[in-house]
């Protein structure tokens, strides 16, 4: 039977979903790209820099966004997720659910609504490290470049003020959750990951001190468009964070939490060490680790970082992090190479929390897929199936590998829809 639909649905607009969509579209396929949040970019949009080149993710995103803008084969829906899937390869009927942005396509991103807004909400882009107006542009690289109005102002005088501030009739406070149907031939799940909840690692006292942060928060602290405009400071008092501990395997490689290795955290922390050392000449960074997993060519990055006299590697999984008498987070444990019991105080402690696939808990894939014990969607190869996975939905992958899996998934989806 010939396939009914040659459209490929890509679920998730992070680096894997973007790559899968563009690569398929540039090979001539029709693509629908869905993203749950108001903007594309996913986790990488929130990263300050990539390892190992320390270049900015937005650079590659800009190219990708230009590719999308110029490609007529891609239809993009933000604030949209898949509710149900029926059918089989070549002919899936997909119901998509959208959540209200309260801003329609007439938005010119002029910003008048934001000026009219008075209340503040925790800034999702900065993991709540700061706040943003209830009418906001997710960030300066948001794509689509369109504002969002938080549901909290709907039905309030503030909401009315926001609405009347818009000259372009772009504010729609009446907007409700909607659903619509798509018929597609293949689906690529690129639903990505969320950081493992650091509060669940109780001995590390994440909830006890603002100066104990996660690696994704560190990215925001170091980013020019983050809550501190790139200053790496103690969240508690805004003082420079000159002495910094980076704790590897905060959740990963731990049968109490994430049994697998999240594969990117070592390199992420090497990068964070460089951030701190780049910012403060007299800084000291200690990396607590079990094994430094700088695989393949990335070994060079490890060696570079290791060569810095201000960065120390301590082979130890800390037992606990306590808030010391002076309020500074103190890392306690055993140095396994010297057998010293240590208790070292820092300005900030960064927990290298692992990646948990969204498909594990946050989001149930509404179609039968092969899933491993951790919630990663096992990749399919060859003919017969129209369901594929890419990026971290498939396994703990770094950016490069996510793009690799996305490109492969795009090819296999094309095979599926072209029969």
């Amino acid at each position: 039977m010939a396939p009914n639909s040659q459209t490929i649905l890509v679920v998730g607009g992070g680096i894997a979903g973007i790559s899968a969509a563009i690569e398929a579209a540039e090979a001539g396929a029709d693509v629908v790209l869905l993203e749950r949040s108001p903007t594309l970019g996913g986790r990488v949009a929130g990263l300050n820099r990539y390892f190992p080149k320390l270049c900015h993710p937005t650079c590659g995103l800009e190219i990708n966004y230009q590719r999308i803008k110029k490609n007529k084969n891609i239809k993009l829906f933000t604030m949209a997720q898949v509710a149900t899937v029926e059918g089989q390869a070549g002919n899936y009927k997909v119901t998509v659910k959208t959540t209200p942005r309260h801003v329609n396509a007439k938005c010119t991103a002029c910003g008048a609504c934001s000026e009219a807004a008075t209340s503040e909400i925790p800034n999702p882009f900065n993991y709540g490290l700061d706040t943003v107006k209830a009418a906001y542009l997710p960030h300066e690289m948001a794509f689509p470049m369109r504002y969002v109005i938080d549901g909290s102002v709907v039905g309030t005088p503030e909401g009315d003020a926001i609405k009347s501030s818009c000259k372009y009739d772009a504010v729609d406070l009446e907007e409700k959750e909607k659903t619509f149907d798509l018929t597609v031939g293949a689906i690529i799940w690129a639903t990505g990951w969320k950081p493992y909840d650091a509060a669940r690692i109780e001995p590390y006292s994440y909830s006890e001190s603002p100066d104990i942060i996660t690696n994704v928060e560190m990215e925001r602290l170091a980013a020019h468009n983050g809550p501190t405009k790139g200053q790496i400071v103690r969240p508690s008092d805004g003082e420079p964070a000159r002495k910094v501990a980076l704790i590897q395997c905060a959740g990963s490689r731990d049968t109490n939490h994430l049994p697998y290795c999240s594969a990117i955290c070592c390199l992420g922390s090497l990068k964070h060490a460089a951030f701190v050392r780049q910012q403060y000449d007299d800084s000291q960074v200690d990396i607590y680790y079990i094994d430094i997993r700088a695989h393949d060519k990335l070994e060079a990055f490890y060696q570079k970082v290791k060569a810095d006299s201000g960065i120390h590697f301590i082979k130890s999984k800390p037992g606990s992090i306590v808030v010391g008498e002076d309020g500074r987070p103190t890392v306690c444990g055993e140095d396994t190479l010297g057998r010293d019991i240590y208790a070292n105080a820092y300005d900030i402690v960064v927990l290298a929390t692992g990646m948990e696939p969204c498909s594990a808990r946050e989001y149930r894939v509404p179609v039968e897929v092969e899933m491993d014990d951790y919630g990663f969607i096992v990749p399919k190869t060859g003919n017969g199936s129209g369901i594929f996975s890419a990026g971290v939905a498939q396994g703990p992958n770094d950016v490069s590998t996510s793009v690799q899996t996305a490109t492969a998934a795009a090819l296999r989806a094309i095979q599926a829809v072209r029969g």
């Binding site: 900015h56 690289m141 695989h295 070994e299």
Partner: protein, 763 residues
């Protein structure tokens, strides 16, 4: 285009109309620039606004729309009118959002933005794609191991004919020798059956795939869609035509003979992982010395890898492979003891399960560096966890987990001429220290030092080229300092500097079977895109879909060879007399050739030296007494220009004396533009481009580096004009520099303000 009818559309939305006197701008467009039509609208991007433009198009009023509104980076999809040329003039992000409203200088800037737009439109032609001759859709895959087999099969399943070239007499590569493979499917705990045989059968039974074993590619010429390859088999050569090439030449084990300190050669019972694998596949592990099954075996990790004397990188798979072998050993003989001596145990991702499985099976992991392996098989370990030097005695066998060496060259082939060997001296060194305040310094005042010697920086891999490319820039696929084939290894892993030729598998970076198979699929998709785009005359990444291409005015060309040398993608060849010939489907449309050309005779239909010169010249230059200097900014359109846009989004204010023109790449900047600006009376010029050097961030690889090189010569020119050298500068600006770029501009504007006005003003 002969009969241009340009309409200028001035958008008053988003506060533009409140900050700028739009009637005055309209005057400039109509009276001064003689625009045949100019309209103002409150919101051009609204349905009503778009309809105004569309009606003019439909009514035959215009065939070019100059839209003076927001940045071209937004509303791209809305301002599209079915093939009608659109030129954008940025009045929002780079005028009213970063300069004070209702200010004389802001007004002048806005007017100049429109002037430049009109000037641009006058030289802007719709590119006609190059589609001459036949385009071939067949994909050649070089290498018949797991990567190549997967690539061939994936290409066939996508409907493409495949030519699969394998230098050995049979398909399968190294993976064919493995007894079992690493687990890649849940629960990730046990070695899996080696299913490579099935893949070989699928490929051999696939009518779309032509397999040539015992064959080598001895010559490759042409371009995407039109490659001609010479394949030599048993002394006879045949010519084949293919559209794109996937290079999957894989790896070879590091030569264990170089590992004397690890006992290789001293005892027959010191073997490599590959040798052990062959034993496992052929009946089980036996000592070479006496044919007995060993009871006590140590696996030494990083044998060669992560060693500055040998392979500087981590070979990625060795930890997993040793775990597999150790597991197979202890499972086949419960009394056997297996030790894995490691420095960092690397089982990333779900492979952590495999590590646990080995521990559960009783395999002992010892962290430490192996200092020596004796002829009596004593392994001396600097045991990091016991904190002492431990001689491990009584071993029956020692297995060296040797690393992977990429087959980015063919080690058995004869090296090419010396001039081409130079090409193998990789120009990018990944171990360069991170430049920073505190980084790699002992403290203040100390020079950053290279902490880790990267030995391959100055060495070249042995052997000849894989494809023997008949390119002006040599026979090799470019490679990085670690010997692996070049790849942009973060955002765009399949990008190489040779369009239409995609590397995948361990030739690109160390990887195992499952990842190689996936990587092959990705490379095949890129090959398919290259073929499709070539046939349509369109560029591939990063300017995907661009139909313009460089045209050379041969009547003026002096055959100076700068374009052929500087093209980052080896797209321009030379005929015998030095005449440059653009292989259009190899071209990535960056314009580096255009910037290189001393006689300015290379250009694109929609992007050329004259067009930008005219834009520069269109700017109104106040006289020297006005104290209003003008500064030209040429900004990389992918990074610096968006950074300027974002400076606007963030409302960072900066000097309104700058006039900014986006360029495809700094590599495309013709020095004529700088001299035009100076001659026209600009007081200074800034080139804003991406980071160059070992950790370059230029999407055209060398563009920003080349621009820097060219800029170094501008000083001389300025001096000859009796002008200060520092009127023209080049700065590295990343896309994240929205705050910094405003500061850079102000500092430069301040400096220019301190100088006398350019004496050429009003000339």
């Amino acid at each position: 285009m002969s009969d241009r009818k340009a309409g200028v559309y001035l958008c008053k939305g988003c506060g533009i109309g409140d900050a700028v006197d739009m009637d005055a701008i309209e005057q400039v467009a109509v009276s001064e620039m003689k625009a045949p039509l100019c309209r103002q609208h409150d919101a051009l991007c609204s349905d009503e606004g778009l309809k105004v433009i569309q009606d003019d198009i439909d009514g035959g009023e215009i065939n070019q729309a100059i839209i003076a509104a927001c940045s071209h980076r937004v509303m791209t999809d809305r301002f599209q009118f079915n093939g009608t040329q659109v030129v954008r003039a940025n009045l929002r992000e780079q005028v009213i959002w970063c300069h004070p409203a209702n200010d004389e200088d802001t007004q002048m800037l806005a007017a100049d933005q429109v002037r430049m737009g009109i000037a641009q439109a006058a030289k802007f032609d719709t590119p006609q794609p190059w589609t001459e001759g036949d385009f071939n859709r067949r994909i050649m895959v070089v290498g018949g191991g797991v990567t190549g087999l997967s690539a061939a099969r994936e290409a066939s399943l996508t409907g493409h004919e495949v030519l699969l070239i394998e230098r050995a007499d049979s398909l399968g590569g190294w993976a064919a020798k493995w007894s079992r493979r690493l687990p890649h499917r849940p629960p990730y705990r046990d070695p899996q059956d080696n299913d490579l045989g099935a893949l070989v059968s699928e490929v051999e039974g696939d009518s779309k795939i032509t397999v040539m074993t015992g064959a080598l590619v001895t010559r490759t010429e042409g371009m995407p869609g039109k490659f001609t390859v010479e394949i030599t088999r048993g002394g006879a050569a045949v010519l084949e035509t293919v559209g794109a090439i996937v290079v999957a030449t894989g790896w070879r084990p590091y030569d264990a003979n170089k590992l004397g300190h690890l006992g290789y050669g001293a005892s027959p019972d010191v073997v490599t992982g590959v040798e052990l694998e062959e034993m496992l596949a052929n009946g089980g592990i036996r000592r070479k010395s006496d044919g007995q099954a060993p009871k006590t075996v140590a696996f030494v990790q990083c044998a060669g890898s992560r060693d500055p004397e040998h392979l500087p990188y981590c070979s990625s798979v060795c930890c997993g492979v040793s775990i597999k072998q150790a597991l197979l050993l202890v499972r086949s003989d419960p009394d056997a003891m297996a030790y894995i001596v490691f420095d960092e145990l690397r089982t990333p991702g779900t492979a952590e399960e495999f590590y646990r499985q080995a521990q559960e099976a009783g395999v002992v992991f010892i962290k430490g560096k192996v200092k020596s392996v004796g002829a009596d098989l004593t392994v001396t370990v600097d045991d990091a966890l016991l904190g002492e030097e431990v001689p491990m005695t009584g071993l029956d066998m020692v297995v060296l987990a040797t690393g992977m060496v990429p087959n980015s060259t063919n080690p058995d082939a004869e090296a090419e001429a010396d001039e081409f060997q130079e090409q193998l001296k990789a120009d990018i060194n990944p171990a360069v220290p991170i430049p920073s305040a505190g980084f790699a310094n002992g403290g203040e005042g100390e020079e950053p030092q290279e902490g880790f010697p990267w030995p391959w920086k100055d060495k070249t891999p042995t052997g000849g080229s894989i494809l023997n490319l008949q390119y002006r820039q040599g026979p090799h696929i470019p490679m990085l300092a670690d010997g692996f084939s070049d790849s942009h290894y973060i955002c765009f892993p399949y990008e190489t500097r040779r369009t239409g030729i995609y590397t995948c598998g361990p030739v690109r970076r160390p990887m195992g079977m499952a990842e190689s198979a996936d990587d092959a699929a990705g490379a095949v998709l890129k090959a398919i895109q290259a073929i499709g785009n070539a046939a349509e005359g369109a560029a591939v990444h990063p300017r995907a879909g661009d139909l313009s291409f460089p045209k050379i005015g041969y009547d003026i060309c002096t055959k100076c060879r700068r374009c052929t040398v500087e093209c980052p993608f080896g797209a321009i060849d030379e005929e015998e007399d030095g005449k440059p010939v653009v292989n259009i489907t190899r071209c990535r449309r960056c314009g580096t050739c255009m910037g290189a050309c001393p006689v300015r005779t290379i250009g694109f239909d929609n992007y050329n030296v004259q067009m930008i010169s005219d834009m520069i010249s269109a700017v109104e230059i106040p006289d020297e007494f006005a104290e209003k200097p003008r500064i030209l900014i040429l900004a990389c359109e992918n990074d610096a220009y968006p950074a300027l846009d974002m400076a606007g989004i963030n409302r960072h204010q900066y000097s309104a004396y700058v006039r900014t023109i986006p360029v495809r790449c700094l590599g495309s900047v013709s020095m004529l533009w700088v001299s035009t600006a100076i001659e026209r009376g600009y007081d200074g010029a800034m080139l804003l481009g991406c980071k160059s050097g070992d950790d370059y961030q230029c999407h055209f690889v060398k563009g920003s580096a080349i621009a820097k090189e060219r800029m170094s010569k501008v000083g001389e020119t300025l001096k000859s004009m009796m002008l200060e050298e520092d009127r023209v500068i080049s700065e590295e600006v990343s896309i994240a520099d929205s705050a910094r770029v405003a500061d850079l501009i102000d500092r430069f504007a301040g400096k220019i303000g301190e100088l006398d006005a350019n004496p050429f003003k009003g000339f």
